[in-house]
């Protein structure tokens, strides 16, 4: 990816909602994730995000570990979620 903290200011996960919507049928910025690295929980919209319209890296607020990567490549949308142990998407009743 080559995009690391320090290269550019972080955004909020909310800023990547448009990119996420290209893959997910539901708005996952309001989903609660559990970080595979440290076990912390948070909302994806509140995670630190690095990147722009071509791709985004979501990092855990607590440990700065990568919880999700989504990149638009010539081959298609490329998703890496090995840093997320669990994702809970509230869908109402």
């Amino acid at each position: 990816m080559g995009v690391e903290p320090g290269d550019m200011p972080a955004l909020d996960g909310n800023a990547a909602a448009g990119l996420l919507s290209e893959l997910f049928a539901l708005d996952v910025t309001v989903a609660h994730f559990t970080c595979a690295g440290c076990g912390a929980e948070g909302e994806l919209g509140g995670a630190r995000v690095y990147g722009g319209t071509m791709g985004a890296i979501f990092r855990c607020i607590a440990c700065d570990g990568v919880v999700l990567r989504l990149v638009r490549t010539p081959a298609g949308l490329w998703l890496d979620m090995q840093g997320t142990r669990k994702l809970v998407v509230p869908v109402g009743s």
Binding site: M8, P9, A10, L11, D12, G13, N14, A15, A17, G18, L20, S21, E22, F24, A25, L26, D27, V28, T29, V30, A31, E43, L44, G45, G46, G52, T53, V89, P90, V91, G92
Partner: protein, 252 residues
């Protein structure tokens, strides 16, 4: 805090927006009133992605907050000009009524407040970060809501205050809204507002106390957002009640 749900499908289509009116807000900021066939009603705080395509096919994409209330006839975007930007110079200088461009939205359910969520509502804005918070205040007024609300709004100079007259009008409705301005780079002689950057003391003296458990939304340049969020936590506000939206490298 807001029991956000993702039930509504997030799948977005690119739509064509037509500019129906332009408003010079400040020397640097312009509001675009848009007519967007196929638009679904947004929630205050949401944004859109704007995509411009050059004749050679090159595309540039940026996100802009929606400044209008869901109740309004047109969608308003307020754009701050960044001289070296790829998109904002067009949207603030070259754009004409009748122009069309692509956008998708409304996007994002995280930085959202509606009157149904309730209050108190504590808003902190820097510069054009006022836009999504203005959508919340316009919606609050349109919904005739009366929960306590405070807007703490930092601008550089008086002439840079976006929506100044409308904010004055909203604050004199007597419906529980208080607007506090601060100017960081000079102020008129008769200025009654604050005159420094937003800091912990200001958030404590002019904001809503942590004991009231206000819903907090902060939007603006990254340093302002991070410092305000940190100060509010130091003042005892729960992190889960604080929502932030930073301007980042894609602003432009």
């Amino acid at each position: 805090m807001t029991d956000n749900i993702a039930a509504a499908p997030a799948r977005l289509r690119w739509l064509t927006a037509e500019v129906v009116e332009l408003i010079e807000e400040t020397p640097r900021a312009k509001s675009l009133m848009l007519s967007i066939p196929g638009w679904s009603r947004h929630r205050p705080g949401q944004h859109v992605d704007v995509r411009l395509t050059a004749e050679d096919g090159y595309q540039a994409q940026r996100s802009y907050s929606i400044a209008s209330a869901p109740e309004a006839d047109h969608v308003m975007l307020t754009v701050d000009r960044i001289e070296e930007g790829e998109v904002s110079p067009y949207l603030t200088r070259d754009v004409q009524v009748g122009d069309r461009f692509e956008l998708r939205g409304p996007i994002g359910g995280y930085f959202v407040w509606t009157a149904a969520v309730g209050g108190p509502l504590f808003l902190v804005a820097g510069g054009s970060g006022i836009a999504p918070l203005m959508a919340m205040l316009r919606h609050r007024a349109a919904a005739k809501a009366t929960m306590p609300a405070v807007l703490l709004y930092s601008s550089r100079i008086f002439e840079d205050i976006i929506y100044r007259e409308e904010l004055d009008a909203l604050a004199t409705r007597g419906d529980g809204l208080q607007v506090v301005h601060t100017l960081t780079r000079g102020h008129p002689a008769a200025w009654a507002g604050q005159t420094r950057r937003i800091d912990r003391d200001m958030l404590a003296s002019d904001g809503i106390a942590a004991g009231e458990r206000p819903k907090i939304f902060i939007c603006g340049p990254t340093p302002l957002v991070e410092s305000a969020a940190r100060s509010l936590q130091e003042l005892g506000h729960e992190p889960g009640l604080i929502r932030t939206e930073r301007f980042g490298p894609t602003g432009g």
